[in-house]
Symmetry: C2
Subunit: 367 residues, 2 copies
């Protein structure tokens, strides 16, 4: 344990500016109250009006005297009293917004997906490195203690991973108040499917897919509705992924290993429980499947929170990410070790490949 960890009251407070005054930003400012390290909201910016930023403070019971409200992003980027900005506007706005923040010498945590394609991610990563600033794609999932424990301890005890499988179907019905775009407005791959690909990349330790096969369905508007994806990695490792805006599936996940498997029963993107099953040694049993695996549960429950403060399920868990990012900043890091910039680049490449096969093309694409 470091001196700092022993004496958390000595930790520097990290001051956040929140860009975008939508639902996920609202969840973010509630989640920050659960942090274990000192973090504080210092500014809010809406792109269109000061009133909207002020209204956001009111709605979320924030003290307007303590928080700078801005009617444009650039005003916030020029606020010298913030250390990092959290960017939560629409996906297609991320690139421009992140670049503006970096150009104003602000560190950045940007909601997933970092951008709509790899071309944009490359540009953003290049800029962050040029400026020597922190940039992270906000895959809060990777900051969950359950995933950190699985990756650092439990998975290693089960031999090599052979296969990963998940189903995440979420028929989102809300319409975005600002744009009138329904959630899934960039297609469900970027709305929810990307979580499945991000977690495959985590489990297979950022190995580049050898081969990727996709079968899916588009909506009338040309955006993807669901897809069934098979990814082949080296040594016959496989990922089987299904995401959907048409079918409902609660994000159960299986990691099959040589000596057992790990199951997350639901909400793999913000999990509180996993089940680890260990197979008996095949040499000691009459046949391979004859004897039941031994089973243990691991839990990392979220702290108590008021469900009705949040727009999305379990986004109280955003506080894990806020703590992680602020620790990175205090340590002088320029990227997260849980979700690296190379991870963002590889993930964007994978998502591009899936869209290519599905036939979903954005104006921003070069393919």
């Amino acid at each position: 344990m470091s001196e700092q960890q022993k004496q958390p009251f000595l930790l520097k407070e990290i001051r956040w500016g929140v860009v975008g005054a939508g639902r996920i930003a609202s969840d973010f400012v509630h989640a920050i109250t659960l942090c274990q390290t000192p973090n504080k909201i210092k500014a809010i910016a809406s792109s269109d009006s000061l009133e909207r930023a002020q209204k956001f403070c009111e709605n979320n019971l924030l003290d307007k005297n303590e928080i700078n409200c801005y009617g444009s992003y650039n005003e916030l980027f020029n606020d010298e009293f913030i250390d990092i900005v959290y960017i939560s506007n629409l996906n297609h706005q991320h690139k421009e917004t992140v670049l503006a923040a970096l150009n104003s010498n602000k560190n950045v945590l940007c909601e997933k997906p970092l951008a709509v394609n790899k071309l944009e991610v490359e540009e953003m990563v290049k800029k962050a490195k040029e400026k020597g600033l922190f940039l992270m794609e906000g895959y809060w999932t990777r900051c969950f203690p359950l995933w950190i424990d699985i990756m650092s301890k439990h998975l290693n005890s089960l031999g090599n991973v052979q296969m990963f499988s998940t189903e995440f179907g979420c028929p989102i019905i809300r319409v975005n108040a600002m744009t009138g775009i329904k959630d899934g407005g960039e297609g469900y791959l970027l709305a929810s499917g990307c979580y499945c690909l991000m977690i495959a990349q985590l489990i297979f330790k950022s190995e580049k897919p050898l081969e990727l096969k996709v079968e899916g369905k588009l909506k009338e508007n040309g955006l993807d509705y669901w897809a069934n994806i098979l990814i082949k990695y080296s040594d016959n490792k496989l990922a089987r992924i299904f995401y959907s805006g048409e079918h409902r599936a609660d994000g159960g996940l299986n990691i099959y290993c040589e000596k057992g498997n790990i199951r997350i029963p639901e909400f793999f993107w913000c999990p509180e429980e996993a089940i680890i099953r260990r197979y008996p040694d095949p040499k000691t049993v009459p046949h391979l499947l004859a004897v039941k695996a031994t089973t243990e549960k691991i839990n990392n429950n979220l702290p108590e929170f008021n469900l009705f403060n949040y727009n999305y399920p379990k986004t109280a868990g955003l506080f894990y990410q806020i703590d992680h990012v602020s620790n990175c900043l205090r340590e002088g890091m320029k990227e997260s070790f849980l979700m690296t910039l190379n991870d963002s680049l590889l993930l964007a490449e994978t998502l591009d490949e899936i869209r290519k096969q599905l036939g979903v093309k954005y104006p921003q694409d070069d393919f």
Copy 2:
């Protein structure tokens, strides 16, 4: 409750002849001791020698004075003291053996798969109908009380089925003592994958697939090693199936419905436990995934049995099928209502299509 059910002691005893003296036949003669209705082994036939049939009796502690042992199948088919034969030799021998049994006017329960392709199944079904005899493909799974309860009660309470998903990977390592052929000798589709397709057909009530896409891997011998299968049915219903002889997966299964889902955690082909999750009404919760589903477990445990009497996992459960078949015979039925002859035809057609896409061709195929 019928008179017969009230007075089981009045039920006619069904006399079984067992064809093939291998491991599954051994499990069958043990499972029959668990039956709730009167069933008895009356004859055993080995294809190659009387001694092998006699040795089978000894090894399985059967009384040779009560059981006719034969060194050829035809002798058993001519035994007037048996009502039905259970055929358990190798898959490519099924057609010839079943036809011979039917031609000798014997009812037949034949191990899965009934034949190696649809062409053969058609011939066998035609013969059974011509002769007015009972014929059933031995998918014991469909006789498990858990499946009967799921299909007759629980599934109906969850609204329409949207998607079915399963993974069954079984790296079988044994070598068949008679032939030297490793299990999976016809490819893993016919060894284990067929169970996944059979259960998809059950869940989707024998609906014919609209479209089927397969991605898989062959071994050096040209037989299939694993496959990832997506089946599209009407109304956007989907089946996602993975089977493998290379990866281990314990046969967990999910059925996603409008109002909830059913999970069988393992061994879906002979299950003892399922978990039913019901979603809260979306109108009553702040967002679709916010509130946990309510969960209940349903159990139908196998009766106590000695694991070491059996070669394969949980084949004690074959007794459900034996009871079902003998009830069918007592009722004068010519086919099972749990696994109909049309089911066998449609299933064979589906398995043929998968092999076509994989490029696995048998000498018996006409494609």
